[in-house]
Amino acid sequence: MSSDNLPAKRTGAFVAGDRGHMTVIDRDGRTEARLRQFLDRLDAESPFYRARLAECGTGTAIERLGRLPPTSRADYRGPLAAEALAGLGRECFVTDRSSGSTSRPVLRFCRGADDLAEQAETERVFRRAGLGPGDHLVCIDVGAAAISDFYQRAARALGVERFTFLHLTEDDAPAWLALQRLEPTAVLAIPSLIARGGERPLALWPEGRSPVRICITVGELLLPRQRTAIAHAWGCRVCTFFGTTETGGFASECGTADGCHFHPESTVVGLADPAWVDPLTAEGELLLSTPDIRTQPVLNYRTGDRVRVSVGACTCGERTPRLWPLGRDTETFVFAGEKFTYDAFLEALRVVAPTLDACSILVGPTTQRPVRLTFHLPEKLRRHEKALRAALTNGIFELDALCRYGMVEVQLAFRGRLPLGNRKGIRLARARTER
């Protein structure tokens, strides 16, 4: 594929790289121009990428990107975090922390320029969602208030008048009542936190009386039935805002709600192991390169998210490519708004029990608060109970936080044989659907 002779109905093109992954570029050469500057900057400022780029030979920036090996999460939390930390100097910065759905968290450093670049992207997303003067935006979360404060700045830049951060705790009834009284015109939330409230958040207003015009969902995949339930109950538009901790949010749905638009010169999107869906659409693992990030930038960063990307035009008229999140490459389930991978649990437990090859996790009953997560482990590990428990909560800080918040209770159960076998499928399905 190449970017030549693009018919008007296209919004960009896929360029195949030498390593088999594909990169999405825009129609008028801005992706190439931004990437060229970006590679020059990394060559000057990042020893890690200087060494990698030296192996990529010459050519256009897109061609060189196509020869570059993917950046792993281990690279991000190792050499790239160290480079960022060393380069911070006296400039002010904030940090963002995420487990990246593994048992070893990643720390992201953001200086003022990074924050503003991300704000520009977020403003674009909020504008696309229709936020503006007269709105009262309420962000709902169990923690992570710092990101809500960031959203507040982006919203205010569009003239949004009122902003509230609503803190959801294990006893969520008062918070939903507060949401009703706050009379928001816009809500930003993680879908599973709304789902966790059961009927309560959906029954806040009689039909046709909800003040909410728009609900922006972040942080995880929005299931079709969740979208329908929210849209119906609140009589509002529901729009997905997609991103990662390492790169910030960069894609969101328009009114058509058919894919998240993104700007390929601000966040360069690639696909590893791509498979064509049609001549304008492909699926694969999302790779990200971040020309707008100065402090901890990445090239071909492996997100672990499976996405579909299309350069076919959207009926809304916006001429940017679109992305559909499809889930994660690794087995994941979402709990109280936090993503967990099965591998992360195993990795954490293996700190104490290196030969552990499987464990089963029982979720629920979910009607009870806190929700219990029971880890079934071999009997011979019983004498390590204390250490195993500590390994889980020390290794996976989001789990630790949810336990502290009273959202989750971790139990360890020991028995001769693990209840895996033929029930494994049932258990996985249950963990997936009870969100």
């Binding site: 911070l88 006296r90 940090t95 404060d149 803190h167 006893d171």
Partner: protein
């Protein structure tokens, strides 16, 4: 006999950080050897790295009260142990103000400048299962009142410097150590600095501050009359007799 806490902290900081060795010229043997220092004494630092104990895993930045305006001129990074101490001080100080009972639901009144600081408090409070929502002041006093009314909190914490809300609800205000000491003593106060966050509290009507717990030492520098703070316990980022603002009455 073990060293008094201040001397022990200073010696530990001296052993862990070349910065203090350079600043003091020798390892203190008595408390009188430990000089009081100001932000200007740290002007040579290139950034947070030199205030960070090697090998201590950083968990994040400590937000100053006002975004982008840290007292030392750069952002500080802390380790898990420092975070836990900050959390303990906040909870300790709030519990004391509430006569040993911690509120269940709080509303924090904040604004664009103090937002990151307030958001950080939310996470510290959540750790002790206190629900803490944020009301932003930019939309005006009427909107603040409506926000507080809707959230129905047990306690309101004024993080931004705003007028008292018209709602009748227990109130605590955040006072930055670098600011002119608050004249209004009819409101309970939390005294904070950018380096260690919550330092002390004073109840409504009280004229003196009581330190949040024994992880910090508050002193008045006898030569300047300024308030100086020491992290008696630390993992990554010790501050020793650092002047943070005008003197206050200490219990």
């Amino acid at each position: 006999m073990s060293d008094p806490p201040l001397l022990a902290a200073a010696r530990a900081a001296c052993d862990a950080l070349p910065l203090y060795r350079a600043l003091w010229s020798r390892r203190p043997t008595v408390e009188a050897d430990i000089p009081y220092i100001g932000a200007a004494d740290l002007h040579c630092l290139d950034g947070p790295g030199q205030l960070h104990v090697a090998g201590a895993d950083p968990v994040g930045a400590v937000p100053p009260l006002r975004r982008g305006r840290p007292h030392l001129g750069f952002t500080r990074i802390e380790a898990d142990g420092d975070w836990l101490l900050r959390q303990r001080r906040l909870i300790g100080a709030l519990s004391r103000l509430g006569s040993t009972r911690l509120p269940r639901r709080m509303a924090l009144v904040t604004d664009d400048a103090t937002g990151p600081f307030a958001a950080d408090l939310v996470e510290l409070l959540a750790w002790s299962r206190v629900s803490a929502s944020l009301v932003y002041a930019e939309a005006g006093p009427r909107s603040i009142d409506r926000g507080i009314e809707a959230l129905a909190p047990d306690l309101v914490l004024l993080v931004a410097g705003v007028e008292r809300p018209a709602i009748d609800v227990p109130l605590v205000m955040v006072v930055h150590a670098g600011d002119r000491p608050a004249a209004a003593t009819q409101t309970a106060r939390l005294l904070v600095c950018d380096e260690l966050q919550v330092l002390a509290s004073a109840g409504a009507g009280e004229t003196t501050y009581i330190p949040a717990d024994d992880s910090v030492r508050l002193e008045i520098d006898p030569r300047t009359g300024l308030l100086a703070v020491t992290s008696l316990a630390f993992t990554a980022a010790p501050v020793i007799r650092l002047q943070v603002g005008p003197g206050v009455a200490l219990a």
